[in-house]
Every structure is written in C-alpha cells, then in structure tokens.
Symmetry: C2
Subunit: 361 residues, 2 copies
C-alpha cells in the first residue's frame, strides 16, 4: 500500500513509448540518439539498449558522467560547453566519444587550447526559438565556427544540432506539423549546403512529423514518459503518459469543494498549464486504481501549490467520494521536472528505480 | 575559484536576519518557533541555538525526522497530518514533543485510535488564504475539533496555528501592515475567546508588523535568507538577501543582448515575478564580486529558463563586459525552492553546508 507521496512509473508505457519512437526513427532511416534528461535513470537507460540507438544525449556534464559510468560510450552534452569545466571535459573525453555544442569561434579556440583529448562538436543552430545557437540565416557566424573547428587541433566537426523548443506553444498535432515543417526544411537546406549531419529533436516534432527531410539524428527526451502538457500540445494521448504522482489527502474543505494534499512545488515543480478561464493549474487528477491509474477526472485539477501543500479543485462527485487518508493520483504538467524533484520512481509492480537526483536521505 | 553552478550563502547575512527576527519576537514578548523549511540544513539550524527559541517548525514529517536526529526536541509539522504515516508519527512522538495540525473531528478520532504516544496538536485556522485550515468565522467546526481533541486519549490541544500566505500579494511594507492587521485582530479575538495560544508567521508579516496583538508564537521561515520576491513584497532590502546562485556564462547573443547560462528550472525552480510590461522573469542579476556579490544590475534579469538552460536579458553595459567563461550571480525569486533544488550551499568563505535534499551523486 502506498502511504506517502510517490512518483509511480508504468514500465509497459515507457517501453511502448520507446519502441514507437525507435520505430519512427528507423522507418525514416534516421539514427536514434535519445535524450536522457527526462528519466535521468541508469535502469531506464538500460531499457533503451535493445533498440538501435547510436548514442545518447544529455543536458549537463554531470549527467554525461553518470551515464558514462554505466557503459554509455557516445554521449552528446546538448548545451554549449562551460570552458571552466574543461578538466571534467578532458577526463570524460579520454574515456568516451564525447560531443559538445559550440556557437562561437572564440570559445572554440579557448576550448581547443585547453583540451588534452579529442572531442566531437555540433554547431548549435537556433531555429528562431531564441534560447541558444546561431540563427540559421547567420551563415557568416556558422562559417566562422566551421573554420575555427577545422583549424583546431583537438576538435572534430560532427554536424549541426538544433532544438525547436518553441513547438511547445502548439496546441494540436496539426499545428505542430505546420509549425515544424518550415524549420525542418531550413535545417535540410543547411545539411545540403554544408554537407554536415543534423541532429534534431523536441518531443512534439518527433512524435508527430511524417517527413523528417534531410535530418540524420533524432534526440527527443520527454517522449519516454510524456506528461499532461504533451497531451495539450498534441504530442500524445493521456494513455501514453507513463508517470503519475500519488499524493495523500490531508483535509477536505466543503465550502470550496477543495482537497488539501501532500504534494507541492518541491514535488511537481511550478510548471503550469492554463485553463480556458485563464487560471493556471499544476497537474491533472486521474482515477486512482491502487498502484495504477485510470482516466483523467473531468473538472479535477491541482489548482495551487506551495512548498509542500497542494490544493485540488474537485467536481462534486470526486469531492464526495474522497476522504483524508485516501490517495489521489495526479499527472504532472512537466514530467522531466517532477522526476528531477522526486529523485526516484516506484514501478506499479513495486520496484524502486533510481534517478541521478536521488537524495542521500 | 567557482567553476560550476553553485548556491552561495552569506553567513553574516543569515546571522543578521536571524538576530533581527529573534529580537522582534522577544521585544514583543512572543515565543520564537522558526520554520526550518527554507534552509533545511542541520548546520544552519545550529546557528539558531544561541537565540531564545522554544522549538522549531517544519513542513513535512521527513524534515521533522531530520531535525530530530540532530537533537531538536520540540517540532511542529505545520501541515495537517497524513494518517497513513501514523507509524512514523508514533516513532517520532515517542522521542520528541511532536506537534501536528488538525482541521476536522473525524481525522482527530482516526489519529487518536492509531497513536501509541502522546502528541500535541494545533487547530489550523485559515485567515482567508484558502489553502488549509478552518475559516476563523467557522466557530462550529472549530468547536467540534476542540471537543474531539479534548475527548481523545492521546492528543493534547496546544493552540491555534495560522499562516497568512496571501501576504505575498502585497507590494510594499505599508501594504503588508494594512493587509495583515485585521487578520491579527481576528486571530487575537480567537485567542481571547478560547484562551488558546496562537502560532502565526509568514515572513512578510513577521518582518513588518509593529503590533502582534495577542499572538503567542512566531514561526516565519523565509526571513533566514529572504530572496528577490521578498524585496518586491516589501519585507526586506536586497542587502538582506543571504543566498545567490553563481552561474557559468556559456554563450552570448549580440542580436538580442542576451547571455546563455548554465542555470535552469532544476536549479532556480519556475517561480517567477512579473515585470512592469507583464513579462515573467525568474531571477535578478547582481554584480559579481568573486565569491561574493554586490548590487542588483538594472535591466538584467533571468528572462527564461528550461531544464538546464537560462537566458539573461542584459543592459548594453553588462552585455559588453560579460563573456563566455565568466560567472554571473543571480538572486533567486524564491530561495526556499532554489535551496531545495540545489541540495547544498557553499559559503562565501568556501565552506560546504548540507541540505536535507542533498543528492547522492
């Protein structure tokens, strides 16, 4: 019996999500290089090994070290490198095929001077998302970086890397496809112009696109679990969501049809979606079936969270049948952040699964 | 030299914040029962021992166990108890003066039946914040709970507990005082009517109020560090903020006057404040002085964050003088969540300070 706040994982859903994405890549003749930032788990990482993947992607050097320690031999750290951590980069690059992102010629020179091992680099291209990378029309900067990498002693130019995080603004699978197609077209032009492979991969695009153009490698991450926001974006159905949070009910407040639960910002994160009336909410209530879960419960959502407290707005029916001492089940808005905060998983079968952010106590 | 993302702590500021709040309590003849949810650190907890405090407050049973293991003998868990965790409650109550919150008579009966040790309870009063507790006008429910506690075998009624979290909506110290005074008056009426002590304590109110009415115990938490949102609420000056995040600069983007840093939602949390133009932001840039920091830098703020990436919007001057490989310093919007995510502190002097959420790796 679950007695305290727990992040529950449905292994069969993870496996299906993984199989489907691996198949999408192989059917398009694209290499699969999945992002491990969502699960951050050695055990879950191992479930990928039976699929044809050519390496993995992570979002920090710490994560790269963690997975390298478990035998992963080709890892992309999908963020421009931190030159202050060159010692760690050197250590890791002496053991594995380490790939980092570069965006400017000066940093390339600085890195080259301090490297003791060879590494591969991707030039990061910004598909007008506005987070990181060189804008694809800025061929001057792209060519300066290509020259700097080619002139370096220790760097090998692998290709381009591009993340279209602004696909998260879409609200249907059609919208995703329409939004992403011109981006894929422009990346394909770069691929042809420079004859360099392209690695690409936000979960909405990778879940929906039928034609990946000239793209060579796919690196989505969130698809392994999906989450409530992905159902709203149009990337998946709620049946695909592989993690949910079990929260103890602490109190009920009839005057406002609300339940107080143990489950707050240090568990769910403060990522939110917006209701039709403009209000924010932090999770979607689903039916509780012992350790498992069922369908979303209409009109029941995590209305507000503080550090450890959560308030659930209820339908009359759900309110009436729920009591303090019960457990309610909630889909997180953003599974990557929830998993990082919770620091471990419990499978429906009761097996504990570790996470890089596992706590000492 | 700092080479990677770090949460820096200024011990002297913590000490001053602590001393000032302890003095406010003692000068008003109020017992000080500080909330440890913000720092969640055994070492920082020890710094409180030289001040006259009558016990501590925490927000989870896990946190209570953590501090009990370090010799704290009187601990309030300031959230309605989870009856499913009664075994942990019993274990802890056999060792220390454990106090929990109660809000309904049925749960009081359930708890009483399963307790093996005596515990104290506070009846939680909702000062129209809408999170948890019995509304103060609901004397019928208050009296039902009083009767249930008095009829129980193992529960001792200690008093009332009330948290006015809606003070966070204020935007000046005058506004806080005006907003909180009527709440303190109503709590004081309850105190007189039922002759039961009142424990109260959000940081804005405790930082600003001159007259605490009939309140008996103060339990603020955030004041130990404060943070950027508290300067906007009107609880403190930026000189009082005791923690800041040091983030490596990874790239600069001249076309948008923005810097990319290592520092994202898994470090800062997604708590935000809102600029005058309506845009959200996730942290305030301050001057970097080696391991220390200086004044806020006008026009420079953490504009957006994803899992590990942060984008800083810069003034021209700040942009021009900052390069990849530099470190920038940022006040978090909400220090409680940032500390919980970071999992440890580094003092300006270079000492490592632990946190309950410290990670295994």
């Amino acid at each position: 019996m679950i007695t305290s706040l727990s992040l529950i994982l449905d292994k069969s859903k993870v496996y299906n999500n993984l199989k489907r994405m691996a198949l999408r890549a192989s059917q398009s003749g694209i290499q699969f290089r999945p992002h491990f930032k969502t699960h951050q788990s050695l055990e879950i990482g191992n479930w990928f090994r039976e699929f044809p993947i050519n390496g993995i992607t992570v979002s920090s050097l710490k994560m790269a070290k963690y997975f390298a320690s478990d035998g992963w031999k080709s890892i992309t750290v999908a963020i421009p490198f931190n030159v202050l951590e060159v010692e760690d980069i050197n250590n890791l690059a002496s053991e594995i095929d380490l790939r980092v992102l570069v965006v400017d010629p000066n940093s390339v020179v600085k890195l080259d001077q301090r490297l003791t091992s060879r590494i591969s680099v991707y030039i990061e291209i910004d598909p007008e998302y506005g987070r990181s990378g060189i804008l694809y029309e800025d061929t001057e900067q792209i060519e300066k970086v290509i020259s700097a990498v080619n002139a370096s002693e220790k760097l090998t130019l692998h290709g381009f890397y591009s993340h279209a995080g602004h696909s998260y603004k879409c609200r249907s699978s059609n919208e995703i496809a329409k939004f992403i197609q011109p981006i894929v077209d422009r990346l394909s032009q770069l691929r042809i112009k420079y004859d360099l492979p392209i690695c690409f991969g936000d979960t909405p695009s990778c879940s929906v696109l039928k034609d990946f153009g000239e793209i060579d490698e796919l690196s989505p991450g969130n698809f392994v679990f999906y989450d409530w926001i992905q159902t709203q974006i149009g990337s998946c159905n709620y049946e695909d969501i592989a993690v949910a949070v079990k929260c103890p009910v602490l109190a009920k407040y009839p005057s406002r049809n609300e339940l107080l639960i143990h489950g707050g910002a240090v568990h769910f994160s403060k990522d939110f979606d917006v209701l039709k009336n403009g209000e924010s909410y932090f999770g979607q209530v689903v039916e509780t079936n012992d350790r498992n879960w069922g369908d979303p419960v209409k009109g029941c959502y995590l209305k507000s969270i503080s550090q450890e407290h959560g308030v659930i707005k209820c339908s009359d029916e759900f309110f009436n049948k729920t009591e303090p001492g019960d457990i309610v089940t909630i889909f997180p808005i953003h599974s990557c952040l929830t998993a990082d905060l919770m620091g471990n998983y419990l499978t429906i079968e009761g097996e504990k699964i570790t996470h890089l952010s596992e706590k000492k106590i």
